[in-house]
């Protein structure tokens, strides 16, 4: 069964971002969207998920988890499989329960992978996905939805302010680099795992 569950979990990864945003728009429309229909049947007020700035982050993050969790977990799964079984057997003999095994064997065993992937994703902190934000945002939600990359897009392509946009983009890159070096250093100091 594990294989089937795993396959189901990473199907969303292969959908294009446009299709996923299409789902979001479809499910969050007032009156006819699935989410609002569910809210209505429970008597709760409908929410304007895409027009209300306070909902944007939730929508963005949860759809990101929906799409990415299955695929990203493949790497962690491989890393988990690499932990030798004799460790678990030894723990069984010593009478460890499930949660103790997780805490003392699984998590430390996966730590190098977790740290590496986290460091590699540090670069994405500021490069926060242009595409999904671009598809879902609107002037009403600029307050919470506008990110550096969409701002660069607007000022560069819409308003033709090439030099200003380039400067913002370059500034963005420098910050990413500094963050990466910083987190790599911290990781080396704290958990002795790093990218270089």
């Amino acid at each position: 069964m594990r294989n089937i569950y795993q396959s189901f979990s990473y199907i969303p990864h292969f959908l294009s971002i446009v299709v996923v945003c299409g789902f979001i728009v479809m499910f969050t429309t007032t009156d006819t969207g699935l989410f609002n229909k569910i809210l209505m049947t429970f008597g709760l007020p409908q929410q304007q998920f895409l027009s209300d700035p306070s909902w944007f982050r939730t929508v963005y993050v949860s759809s990101g988890v929906w799409q990415g969790a299955g695929w990203s977990s493949i790497i962690y799964f491989s890393s988990l499989s690499a932990i030798s079984h004799s460790l678990y057997e030894a723990a069984d003999i010593d009478g460890a329960n499930r949660f103790q095994k997780i805490r003392y064997i699984s998590l430390p065993g996966m730590a190098p992978t977790i740290i590496t992937i986290m460091l590699l994703n540090m670069g994405n902190l500021f490069a926060v996905g242009f595409e999904k934000v671009f598809l879902l945002y609107s002037p009403i939600t600029y307050v919470t939805s506008d990110v550096l990359s969409t701002y660069v897009y607007r000022s560069g392509f819409m308003n033709q302010e090439y030099s200003f946009a380039s400067a913002v983009g370059f500034f963005n890159s420098i910050i990413r680099l500094i963050l990466l070096v910083l987190f790599n250093y911290l990781a080396k100091k704290v958990v002795h795992e790093s990218l270089w």
Binding site: Q6, G22, M26, F27, V152, S173, L177
Partner: protein, 292 residues
């Protein structure tokens, strides 16, 4: 073999239950598109939780067949996919082969610069200006050449080749008088079938779904890939009802129906291929790892 007494492991039941719920969450949106596209869109809007098609019919698809721009987009996406696969996979393999040879002069520096691009790059605007000045603006090649080689794919290819094509093999081929090209085409490629499959999967799925490059580099609507057309329909709600036909007063709902249909049409190829190629995905993640 000692026989264990039969235990009801509650944890396993709980775990299975959680996974069934999760699977429904992952699959329902896709399932919804399918059944909604085979239903009467007006009824879909009224039904709280759609499980089976309501008022089944293929009206949506009949409308869709007349909606030309969708099929133009489909064709364009296919062209871009094939072109970029040809170029991307071949150049990645060649680059990985070159970078895996220890004798390559300046190997470390070249690798350093390539990896640097993962962490820092010029940005959206400078890249755009460079591509434009190369004369690729509003041309098909703007979707093939920029980003032709993904650093991650290059690195895993390099590791794969370094682990699986030993230097001794290369030297033996040289002694027997083969050149670099011959070694590459007749020895390396047949041995790297798994790698090629993984590269095709990775590049293929990212190119098929890409829309940002098309967004900034293409002006001519007839060059738009499917994703851009999808964006118009699904996100911007710009559905040109120039198809005529017997839609009647429920035009609004048939517009929604188009959305379901077009989504199904765009994800159908993927879902049909998925069962056959899915076993390569998990393997593919580890393909760049060193052989112990």
């Amino acid at each position: 073999m000692r026989s264990k007494p039969f235990k009801i492991d509650f944890f396993i039941i709980l775990l299975n239950g959680i996974f069934i719920l999760l699977s429904i969450t992952f699959l329902y949106p896709i399932y919804f598109q399918f059944i909604a596209s085979f239903s009467n869109p007006a009824k879909v809007a009224a039904t709280p939780f759609l499980i089976f098609p309501v008022d089944p019919g293929i009206g949506v698809y009949r409308l869709l067949l007349n909606y030309a721009i969708v099929w133009i987009g489909y064709r364009n996406s296919l062209i871009y996919l094939v072109l970029s696969l040809i170029f991307s996979v071949s150049t990645t393999l060649m680059g990985a082969f070159a970078l895996s040879r220890r004798r390559l002069a300046g190997r470390k520096i070249v690798l350093f610069f390539i990896i640097m691009t993962m962490f820092i790059n010029g940005g959206m605007i400078p890249t755009f200006l460079v591509v434009k000045s190369l004369g690729l603006y509003n041309k098909i090649w703007a979707l093939v050449f920029p980003g032709m080689i993904g650093v991650w794919n290059l690195l895993i290819s390099r590791t794969y080749i370094a682990s699986n094509i030993p230097d001794e093999l290369y030297e033996a081929a040289i002694i027997d008088g083969s050149g670099e090209v011959r070694f590459f085409t007749q020895i390396l490629l047949p041995l790297s079938k798994a790698l090629i499959a993984v590269l095709i999967l990775y590049y293929g799925s990212s190119r098929w779904n890409a829309f940002f490059d098309a967004l900034i580099y293409l002006r001519d609507r007839n060059l738009y890939p499917l994703q851009l057309i999808l964006r118009e329909i699904l996100i911007q709600d710009r559905i040109a009802m120039e198809m005529g036909g017997d839609i009647g007063s429920s035009e609004f709902f048939w517009k929604e129906g188009i959305k379901y249909g077009v989504t199904v049409v765009s994800i159908a190829p993927l879902l049909m291929l998925f069962p056959f190629v899915q076993r390569y995905f998990v393997k593919g993640v580890m393909i760049g790892s060193l052989k112990e």
